[in-house]
Symmetry: C2
Amino acid sequence: MVKNPPVINRLAILGIGLIGSSVSRAARQYGAAARVVAYDTDGDRLARALALGAIDDAAASLEDAVTDADMVVMCAPVGAMGAIARQAAPAMRAGAILSDVGSTKTSVVADVLPVLHQGVHFIPAHPVAGTEKSGPENGFATLFDGRWCILTPPEGADTAAVDLCAAFWRALGSNVDVMTPEHHDTVLAITSHLPHLISYTIVGTVMDLEEHHHWEVFKYAAGGFRDFSRLAGSDPVMWRDVFLNNRDAVLEMLGRFTEDLQALQRAIRWGDAEKLEALFTRTRDARRQIIEARQA
Amino acid sequence: MVKNPPVINRLAILGIGLIGSSVSRAARQYGAAARVVAYDTDGDRLARALALGAIDDAAASLEDAVTDADMVVMCAPVGAMGAIARQAAPAMRAGAILSDVGSTKTSVVADVLPVLHQGVHFIPAHPVAGTEKSGPENGFATLFDGRWCILTPPEGADTAAVDLCAAFWRALGSNVDVMTPEHHDTVLAITSHLPHLISYTIVGTVMDLEEHHHWEVFKYAAGGFRDFSRLAGSDPVMWRDVFLNNRDAVLEMLGRFTEDLQALQRAIRWGDAEKLEALFTRTRDARRQIIEARQA
């Protein structure tokens, strides 16, 4: 196999949890970056990532991490991106790329654009991949393989920087799409944010049952509940920030969902067999198409 | 390995879809039954099961299948159990066991008990296992391995028959619990029926979006939606019957869920970060316990 030259020479990762450590591992394993340096406000987590061999270098400060970097990727809850960018941008060299992996994009663009220094290219990204686990111990290089990464470059963004960012994610095995932040937030509200919201809710409903029921629920989780519990086991701070920062799109989709749920509730109450069977037949098609899209 | 004698000599399976064919495969592979005969109103499906080697014999009629059987297991949508039992019971020998695999138990007991003939033991069962697929092609012998099977014997049921039924499911690799039909239906309403109802709803909500949004949703399904689509790909008739036959418990749990969802909606609308984080932290514990229960 001919090894391509690295897409990025020096990559800095800010925040070395599940996603940050997976980006680092993938970048190193697939040769997408020549060298990966990381910084994390949690010194213990940073030391673990280094000990695990997930990164090349652990920086002593955020500024140290970004100063010579060709690309800086912020891997933090979306509510923290603005503050991180404010600290990182002045220390970055002109022409370098600042990116992120946040699950909401409108809010991140709004928070980061005003604090950018001249010459730094901000190319927001969202790799649609993850697990319910957290921390650098749970990162792995193939996390983005075959998944989609969405870039939402601000108007007038440098084309070469967008292309480089796209090339980076493709080198990690991802497919790349480009869209506006607003469109991203609408689509992700239904494909990701609402499913998580519902999962958190139903698991919460169970936790509110009398204590002696809990164990039974967990025992029989294979009946369907386990899939919800997986999503509801995801990082609390990350998801708190998602809902606070994509509020309008989430509430809009939640409204549609609630209407539909009430219609179904009515069909059950009135024993409307035809209506139930018609819906359940129709939804099968979605599953087939997700399998075809190879995202099952 | 010492081979135990079969728990059941002659086993009859009525309905040879995903679950029926998995019971048959498991019973034969683990030596739980000496011989498995099946009948299905869909002659093509029955022929496929025979060609696949999932059963020993295909019976020409329901009566042929059950006449010499020591145990008859009805593997059909719960709404059909009463009619099947009405046809099967008169043809069964005294002392034989009639069982089922239905996902609701109160309704099945109410439908089947009145049509039983003297001397036939009715021991309802629900193996809490399955996949979103259907048909004998998708059955497999290890489906019940490590999962729970719930028996809901009617009051005064023959103890030896209950024990035999329990031994049969244990031979298939299952853990066995015994409870009342009412308790079963309450627990399953939250662990299985409500998750399916919600999944059907959200996938339906997506199908109602404009056509050009569908493909995007399917592409980015790895963000959470895919787990819901899996449940919503389950057999439509089976699930129609579940909701019609466990209406009260499902509506009760749905009511609690809806209240909790509204509270969360309010927290998002008002930007209540603490409330969101507190819930999301609490639900993590459920995931941990399901992993401990080895049902993840």
